[in-house]
Symmetry: C2
Subunit: 190 residues, 2 copies
């Protein structure tokens, strides 16, 4: 996806430890027009998915997910990192974030993830794949089917894709694939 | 805004302690089409604001903010509740959440809130007004101007509007105003 590749090369920055900072246009300041383009590209790539619900994780997944949900006319659910006191029955899973070096829980209400759902999961990054695995676990608990997982950026060298394939995800799409950040230089896959 | 009023009466639920639960269509599961309608109504109400940036708070403000930013072709910044390890120079303020009975910090990078900004702040709820006050403080630190604050739902009886007016906010719009939740019944203002 050329607009995204160009933008990453222009505004992305590398930090030590394999971190790609995209807070100018994706996960702190957001470019809504780019988010719309991202959503359109997801539609193209998941044209035959049969999804009836978009699922994401707060907070950075919400913008692309709501754009996609708007264009596809589908409800969007974001998994929360803390259980609100007002949530009734819920599903919960535990995630290890390698980037942030901590564990966190992921919570979704039983009301909004059920065995009726064919889930297209959308997130900003595919890195080590642990957030995706958390969604696999929540969907398994709910009896929901995952029909695909779409990521704006995949850090290929952190090998999350393999984990998700091993967990049974058959359709994974990433709109930009980072081959390496060695020497703090961004190398994107053609 | 009729579509929103109807939806609150249909899908909103009251919990003890003045809580209005709208997690079926706003802040857990989200209805993207309603979010687009909300954004259009904000455009109408802030037609002359001269905003050049939309600011919101993670996570529930992101969906209406990104829709509004998309339609207005403006960048959207969401304030974070934790400082990411990768954030450079930042502004920080402390918020007291009455609903959640705890304090939290609100953080924004200095790169994305500056004295060039004319900020339209968007959030899901206006309750006691403390989140809005936090944004006032961050904008003051940045030298940014706040040209308006727009909320999807205002709980009038929690009197946050007065706090924001006293803090100098001249243009506040709420698309649905809840007069009371007494007896766990939703009473909306005509």
């Amino acid at each position: 996806m050329k607009a995204l590749y160009d933008r990453i090369m222009q505004d992305g920055r590398c930090l030590d430890g394999g971190i790609l900072k995209v807070d100018r246009f994706i996960n702190h300041q957001m470019d809504p027009y780019l988010m719309k383009q991202v959503a359109v590209e997801f539609i193209r790539r998941f044209a035959d998915s049969g999804a009836n619900k978009i699922v994401t994780i707060e907070a950075s997944g919400i913008a692309p997910a709501i754009m996609l949900g708007y264009l596809l006319e589908l409800p969007v659910v974001f998994a929360k990192k803390k259980k609100p006191s007002t949530m009734g029955e819920f599903l919960v899973t535990q995630i290890r974030s390698f980037t942030k070096q901590r564990e966190y829980t992921l919570v979704v209400s039983r009301d909004y993830l059920t065995s009726e759902d064919k889930v297209l999961f959308i997130d900003d990054f595919l890195a080590y794949g642990n957030a995706g695995l958390g969604i696999v676990d929540l969907c398994r608990q709910a009896g929901a089917e995952i029909v695909g997982m779409g990521f704006i950026i995949e850090k290929e060298f952190q090998q999350g894709r393999k984990l998700l394939i091993d967990a049974g995800i058959r359709h994974i799409e990433s709109l930009a694939i980072v081959e390496s950040l060695e020497g703090n230089k961004i190398k994107l896959k053609d």
